[in-house]
């Protein structure tokens, strides 16, 4: 079984987000990036399938000029068999439509049975990647997936709805799936193991092309949302704050 996992990096929201001078995008110069957490789950789902029934796992990422090598080495250290960087004009922000086109051009040559990627990302303004990618690849799609079982030429897939309802589907392979959560917490890999992977792994480079594809609209303004009435902020030491919170809870008669 051939599994391709598409990953990307997104701004780490733990950091303060600043705007660029024109106020239309984040100031990316000092931003800290990390792999989209749902892509980490997609990778974990692939590695769990590999552990259970054997699979060749290939991880693919657009070369965004950031620390994508590190992310690919980490994927290799976790158990990916092949890591591929798609080279081209992908610096800065890449729309989901452009990413889908560029990734599909590369992934279609890999004859995958399963293509997995995260259900969403914090910055996919023009829509979530999985279904767009499925269309480019001419595959069926299911997104918001929390469970995958592969049985020969089909997969049984669970898709999550609101309120904890789950739909179960059977789908013919190949299929593209948007992963909400893997069956296990994404595995941790020690730094030493990543360092070893850096020595033993070759990142393959394949050129990609997103010509003609894009969001199809312009961002005119980005801004921090106006805070509504907002919270009354409690001041003082942790102890003062705790005392105040106890008072508030008690005043609610609970």
């Amino acid at each position: 079984m051939n599994i391709v996992v598409a990953i990307k990096q997104v701004p780490d929201l733990v950091e303060e987000l600043e705007l660029n001078d024109s106020g239309t995008d984040l100031d990316r110069e000092w931003l800290k990036f990390k792999v989209n957490e749902f892509d980490e789950h997609a990778l974990e789902a692939a590695l769990l399938l590999k552990d259970a029934q054997g699979a060749q796992v290939t991880v693919v990422a657009l070369d965004n000029g950031l620390d994508i090598d590190k992310a690919l080495y980490a994927a290799a250290a976790k158990g990916a068999d092949r890591v591929v960087k798609v080279t081209g004009e992908f610096e800065g922000y890449v729309s989901s439509h452009a990413a889908a086109k560029a990734l599909a051009g590369v992934i279609s040559g890999m004859s995958p049975d399963l293509v997995l990627t995260g259900v969403q990302a914090v910055d996919d303004l023009d829509g979530q990647l999985a279904v767009l990618l499925a269309h480019e690849l001419g595959m069926p799609h299911i997104t918001v997936v929390t469970d995958i079982e592969v049985n020969g030429s089909t997969a049984t897939v669970q898709k999550e709805y609101g309120g904890g309802m789950v739909g179960e589907f059977e789908v013919q392979l190949p299929v593209t799936l948007g992963i909400q959560a893997a069956a296990e917490t994404p595995r941790y890999v020690p730094v030493a193991k990543v360092r070893r992977a850096m020595k033993s792994t070759d990142i393959e480079e394949i050129s990609g092309d997103a010509a003609g594809a894009g969001a199809g609209f312009e961002v005119t303004k980005m801004f921090k949302p106006e805070t509504g009435q907002g919270a009354e902020m409690l001041s003082g030491s942790a102890d003062d704050v705790a005392a105040r919170i106890v008072e508030i809870i008690k005043s609610k008669g609970v």
Partner: protein
Amino acid sequence: MTYVIIEHNNGKIEDISFEMLGKARAMGNGVTAVLLGSGTGDMVAQLGAADKVIVCDDPAFANFNPEAACKTASSILSGNTGDIILVGNTSMGMEIGPGLSASLGIPLVAYVTDIADGTVTSSLYGGKMSVQSAVSGGYIASVMAGAFPGDDGRVDGSPATEAATACVTSDLKVRFKQLIAPEGGDVDITQQDVLVSVGRGIQNEDNLEIVEELAQKLNAAVSCSRPIVDNKWLPKSRQVGKSGLKVKPKVYLAIGISGAPEHIEGMRDADTIIAINTDENAPIFDYADYGTTEDLFDVVPAITEKL
């Protein structure tokens, strides 16, 4: 004309559909609802906010099927590439929205919180940034749940209907198998007066102990945001939010929860919300009644001690 893709599950029209209908009505260009279902009569009667309902009534739509829904919606809307199409930014909408964008070749703007005169506003970066986009011509907007009031769209009536044909052939690659209801947990978090809710800020599973101690003192239940469930630290039955449960406790303590839109959707109606988060820009503070940026690892044990 504004088109609204109606979402329903298990025979019930979802709130997001009424929210979109209300917004579409307010946009003033006429409203056409698109309804794919089986035995849809009762549902059509709830879509009075639409001028017209295009109905595809077929046993194939007794349950949602991403492939059948995308193909049929695409066929119905193939001549509407100049119109605005509203779809929920939901589990079903995340199949249909991008599916339509790809098949119709028109833009998709996601995470939409407002639409006014060609400017579409979205909530990105976990609710930390708003983005305005200028879109010309037809497009699809995938609308955040709760962005628009549902009451304006919740109108009974008998709108004109137009029948459409299902694009369902025997060679569909995706087959619906079953709908699985959530397992009941040990605790029903929707029935609690007080919820001690924990998020990513708790850092690891061992640290859950401090929130459990607090919950015990308060005779409350522990609930959580999505990352905690994805990490298997707490069962799904404790999850508050879009893919979890909607809760309305008297007091909701949000501990180490940033307040991503998906979480807010599940707890915004709590009577009193108290947020503890070291990030002063965390969106949770926009929804909380009281907040503190003191470290949860200091504050939470201190509250427990004082109770």
